[in-house]
Symmetry: C2
């Protein structure tokens, strides 16, 4: 099966020849525009046992195909957002491989200001970085968007998304974790889709270091719909729409 990329669902199943998974997706989907915020998609990779990090790092779970899917989704996004904890966990890029082409805006949400930008964020010359932080936190970065936050430092994400849309022309926002940021967006009905790569691995590990897709209290029951399923090298690439609850 190695090398073959199959679309399993919707039927009819077909082999993808030459193209990357999701390459032909139109995002945001036609007719989906919400005037008050960007269309928000999440992309995560999980093991079969629900772990999204290994030794604290997400980068070790997915395959090269998963890495390409991540780049494909980023190439459609106007901005790529992560929580600061994800940046603290490992050195990463929020951009595309082409060092001279256009890049999505890199957005990092922090509640504490503890942000190893210089050490852990790989940024090409073409990429701009925007840090979103509570009003009373000191951040050493060029672009900072300061917003109100609750007592725990949780940013007003509705306002953050409104400003990203209105002032930074972000129509498609790609969120790449971590579990606390994912949870905040989903619990506030601010996420439209989840792209989940299910890696054929059993990882184990204490829950502190292994993480999950979501970290937070029990959610209200939600309608989640499987939009498509692809298979490559034993990895499943699942696209779910997250219907808004009333």
């Amino acid at each position: 099966m190695t090398g073959k990329k199959l679309r399993l669902y919707p039927l009819p199943a077909q082999e993808l020849l030459g193209e990357s998974i999701y390459e032909d997706l139109e995002l945001p989907p036609p007719g989906s525009r919400n005037p008050s915020r960007p269309y928000v998609i999440m992309n995560m990779v999980s093991s079969i046992d629900g772990r999204t990090a290994r030794g604290g790092k997400a980068s070790r779970i997915g395959s090269e195909t998963d890495r390409r899917v991540m780049r494909t989704l980023r190439s459609k996004a106007d901005a790529v957002m992560i929580g600061a904890g994800t940046l603290r966990a490992e050195k990463l890029s929020l951009g595309l491989d082409d060092p001279v082409g256009p890049q999505p805006l890199a957005v990092i949400v922090t509640s504490s200001g503890e942000l190893p930008l210089e050490n852990n964020l790989i940024v090409s010359e073409q990429q701009e970085v925007l840090v979103i932080a509570p009003e009373d936190i000191t951040v050493h970065s060029g672009g900072v968007l300061r917003l109100s936050a609750d007592r725990s430092g949780n940013i007003d994400l509705t306002e953050a998304l409104r400003i990203l849309n209105a002032e930074h022309a972000v129509d498609l926002l790609l969120v790449e974790g971590g579990p606390s940021l994912n949870y905040s967006l989903i619990s506030q009905n601010l996420a439209d889709e989840l792209f989940l790569t299910l890696a054929p691995k059993l990882l184990g590990g204490t829950l502190d270091e292994s993480l999950a897709i979501l970290d937070g209290p029990v959610l209200a029951t939600r309608d989640i719909n499987l939009v498509s399923a692809h298979l490559a090298g034993g990895e499943l690439f699942l696209r779910y729409s997250l219907a808004e609850t009333a």
Copy 2:
């Protein structure tokens, strides 16, 4: 899509007409016999965010189709095994719906002897129950298999499986959790397959109450192979083989 049961993989995809998912499976697979133990399959249901219980209970996650899949797998098994924690969490049956037909042996593994058999285990007259417990633990039950255990009360599972095979004619053992028992079997290379129902739900919840498929330290890297994938009502039914690591 409601009501339709699709086999997505292996190709060609096809609709299952009238039959239950996995109904035509031959288990143990021909030629797979290990002389020292039963063929061991696990069946679990998980939300998209890797949770296997809601409010501590697994029974609330899967659909009616998932419940039927569970019954189909049980109907092929000589014994159905759970850990005592799973029994403590909720009232359950380890049998089939037919109250007068033959039933798999119900096997419950306990390290502490804390076993609410009378309150939580629903048993038909046709079903026998076997409790596997450490040698020095008092258990109030008819059938008890006493085995050596380590200082934490963890039973010698290799010996338990050998005896189930040799003395109770168990060729196919179905394990239905919880995460500690699953972990013990997988980490000791005692499990052959994992049947995973991926329910289209995002549950959240603290990890104490929400559980995962596995609970234990980081595992050695393992080869896991997707054998088949079915889809019904948005639920994915995934069958993985767990290759033994050297």
